[in-house]
């Protein structure tokens, strides 16, 4: 009798726990704890809030509600893989793991499982070659684009001629930090500037040696590929040696409000690259305030809305949502599968019209994805910190990168990966 009761209760519990309605599941591999929690939290908030907005305002995407399943990685690669394994069976459409380390581990897994990986602005740069990496997408820009954007900005400032100039790269001494070196070396040879490399060991709390060297050698520009505390210390040290902030340019992972906070007014004029816009001056933010924050449904307390990293999470969520729409249009099905989602990502076209329709015109670059090109055209912009107004301002539009230099590097790296892993052409 007891067994029967137990079985009945278990059955009822399982039925209650099983979702009755279809939904579109977006896993959020977040890091709200650990050494990078200050950065991970606003990204995760922006990601979650966008899907909450779609549910509340539009009733989901194409009539199907969205569902965000958050899994805490603590920025640990092992935990990130665990999160993937724990959520992939739940109908996950696309993973945005927010970590280059996790990305490298997931590339073979998602390809085997038929799920997609979207790593905008991080991950494996040569994954832009869709002919090799069928399930990995890294639009709208990658690290090699970023290196080129930084050099292009310096070219713009110097009237197109930087021969004889010197650039120092201060970088996190990891696979991530070393990403731009090859591209910068190629660009140095092309434009005639000298490049010096200054690695900083994790976590980057102590950088006195590197900045004393910069003070001695006086490079014209300093580029930075940093993350977390390394950024804050570098900006503080740059101000300590009175390095001109307008000549200090960080990659997009070195350009949030967190990075300039510790240095205070001294950070004024510091520049960083970006692949999406800044602030809240877009209609979508009015809707987020109305449908998400004011409704008490925000993932955080609302204070992060409009910050750089919140906007990055929101932008990533938006791109995935637009890819869902593309998949729904291609397959004529609202409740899409992970395989359909891959098709949606591969056929994504972002235009002024599509961005205007969602209240985000000008928020990011226009681009189109194809089977061969999973990275888009690699457009990027430059933002600058105004310490008085406590805000980032865009000082350029979304400009192209030097694909004449970058594309051969992508082709060579992806060809080596294909040969190593015996991967046939995916687009023929």
């Amino acid at each position: 009798m007891k067994l029967k009761k137990l079985a009945a209760v278990t059955t009822a519990a399982v039925m209650m726990a099983t979702p009755v309605l279809a939904d579109l599941m977006f896993p959020s591999l977040s890091y709200r704890t650990g050494p990078y929690a200050a950065n991970g939290t606003p990204v995760a908030d922006g990601f979650a809030d966008y899907y909450t907005l779609l549910n509340q305002r539009d009733g989901g995407i194409g009539g199907v509600m969205t569902r965000v399943v958050e899994c805490e990685t603590g920025y640990s690669t092992e935990k990130g893989v665990e999160c993937y394994e724990a959520t992939k069976g739940d109908g996950a459409l696309v993973y945005q793991p927010l970590s280059t380390g996790i990305t490298y581990q997931l590339i073979p897994k998602v390809t085997a499982d038929g799920v997609s990986l979207l790593t905008g602005g991080y991950g494996r740069t040569s994954a832009a070659n869709g002919d090799v990496f069928s399930n990995v997408f890294n639009f709208p820009a990658n690290y090699w684009n970023g290196a080129s954007h930084a050099v292009n900005h310096v070219l713009d400032v110097n009237g197109g001629d930087i021969s004889g100039k010197s650039i120092a790269l201060v970088y996190h001494n990891s696979a991530y930090g070393k990403e731009p070196i090859r591209t910068l070396e190629e660009l140095a040879a092309k434009h005639g500037f000298s490049l010096s490399l200054l690695p900083v060991d994790h976590p980057g709390q102590e950088q006195k040696s590197q900045w004393l060297q910069i003070r001695r050698e006086k490079p014209d520009y300093v580029f930075m590929w940093g993350w977390g505390v390394m950024n804050q210390v570098a900006i503080q040290e740059a101000s300590n040696i009175r390095f001109p902030m307008e000549n200090f340019i960080g990659i997009w992972w070195s350009g949030s409000e967190n990075d300039v906070a510790a240095a205070g007014d001294a950070a004024n004029g510091y520049k960083a690259l970006t692949f999406h816009n800044v602030g809240t001056n877009f209609p979508v933010f009015d809707d987020i305030q109305k449908y998400v924050v004011d409704a008490g449904l925000a993932a955080g307390d609302g204070s992060n809305v409009g910050t750089v990293l919140y906007n990055r999470g929101l932008y990533g969520a938006m791109l995935a949502a637009e890819a869902v729409k593309a998949a729904q249009a291609i397959h004529g099905v609202a409740d899409i599968t992970p395989a359909m989602m891959r098709d949606g990502l591969e056929n994504l076209v972002v235009t002024d019209e599509s961005m205007e329709a969602i209240g985000m015109k000008g928020f990011g670059p226009n681009f189109a994805v194809s089977c061969e090109n999973h990275g888009g055209p690699g457009l990027g912009a430059v933002q600058q910190w105004d310490a008085t107004a406590q805000s980032w301002n865009m000082i350029s539009g979304f400009e192209p990168s030097d694909m004449d230099v970058i594309q051969p590097l992508i082709d060579a790296d992806s060809a080596a990966y294909a040969a190593e892993n015996n991967i046939p052409s995916q687009c023929n």
Binding site: T33, D201, P203, K208, S209, L212, A262, G264, D301
Partner: protein
């Protein structure tokens, strides 16, 4: 003088300053190890917790506001006051005393007579608990720490030393924050020595450090001494948290400064306050000079591993560290 020599002197000076900052972290470890034989793995996270608490008190942040708001549906964040830095530091020191009492009452008390490794494991557990507790209490966001310490290169020193070199030498760079850290560290060490030499509690602390059993036999309360030692270590953690937090802002990574203290402890010895100071200075100067002279030849980023290599070299020839007590166990 040749510029290259001046640069080497500049690197040495900055190495000494960096060494002082390492010593500040190492001091906390030494105090607890000396008095109780426990390697306190939580010392780094104590610095983080202390700095977070200081900023929270100073800015009038409501502790556990995220939790309170989630449960009660309120919108509490700040009390609306701003407390002067000095008062906030005193209040934070009070919180660290309370923390010491809680650790003794709920962790250490139950582990009396347990092997050292058990106590060490307990401090690992304490570390993870504190990480989460700190996040829950004050939030994971980066906090700017402002206690009025000056930062940036000292112009006065630059101007008055520029004449020593040629056109390529701009005077010695010394960060004003590092100067402040050196002064604070000197005051702190003096205060600690005075306390341990000239106060009843300090002498009791030293008695416990020398011999637990003998100290107990003359009526010294081991539990009180533990609370006292953890309180002092908490205060040292607060000072380290302020100095490091002023550079980078207060954030989780502050807890990782403990990594910088390990080679200092290996070199200076786990039981010596002067050892922590001298060890810090040797590591600071050694790693900076190595990076300056050899770093460019081998790709840089040598500081972290060089510190450990240097410490290991000392271990080979003097396992107890420069100032550590030689442990002789008879069988």
């Amino acid at each position: 003088m040749p510029d290259q020599l001046l640069f080497a002197i500049e690197v040495t000076l900055n190495g000494l300053m960096a060494g002082v900052l390492y010593s500040l972290v190492a001091l906390g470890f030494v105090l607890i190890f000396k008095a109780s034989g426990v390697f306190n793995y939580a010392q780094g996270v104590m610095a983080l917790f202390a700095a977070m608490t200081l900023v929270g008190i100073q800015k009038g942040q409501v502790p556990f506001s995220h939790l309170i708001n989630s449960i009660l549906g309120t919108d509490l964040h700040y009390f609306g006051w701003h407390i002067p830095a000095l008062i906030a530091i005193v209040l934070t020191a009070g919180v660290m005393v309370l923390f010491a009492w809680i650790v003794e009452r709920f962790v250490l008390k139950h582990l009396v007579n347990q092997p050292d490794i058990i106590l060490f494991m307990a401090t690992i557990g304490l570390t993870y608990f504190m990480e989460g507790f700190g996040d829950l209490m004050w939030g994971p966001d980066l906090k700017k720490l402002d206690v009025g310490l000056a930062q940036g290169g000292s112009l006065w020193i630059e101007e008055h030393t520029a004449f020593l070199g040629g056109d390529g030498f701009y005077g010695f760079f010394i960060d004003k924050l590092d100067i402040a850290a050196t002064v604070v560290a000197a005051l702190l060490v003096t205060a600690l020595i005075m306390f341990s030499q000239y106060t009843k509690q300090g002498r009791a602390m030293r008695a416990v450090a020398d011999d637990h059993q003998a100290a107990l036999s003359v009526g010294i309360s081991l539990r009180f001494i533990w609370v006292l030692v953890w309180s002092v270590a908490g205060f040292v953690a607060l000072v380290a948290g302020i100095m490091w937090g002023a550079k980078s802002g207060v954030q989780f990574s502050l807890s990782l400064i403990a990594l910088k203290a390990l080679p200092v402890l290996m070199l200076g010895g786990f039981t010596s306050i002067p050892g922590a100071i001298v060890g810090g200075l040797i590591i600071g100067v050694g790693e900076k000079l190595f990076e300056f002279s050899v770093g460019p030849l081998i790709g840089g980023a040598t500081e972290n591993w060089f510190a450990y290599v240097l410490a290991l070299l000392f271990l080979v020839f003097r396992p107890q560290g420069l100032f550590g007590e030689k442990i002789i166990e008879r069988v």
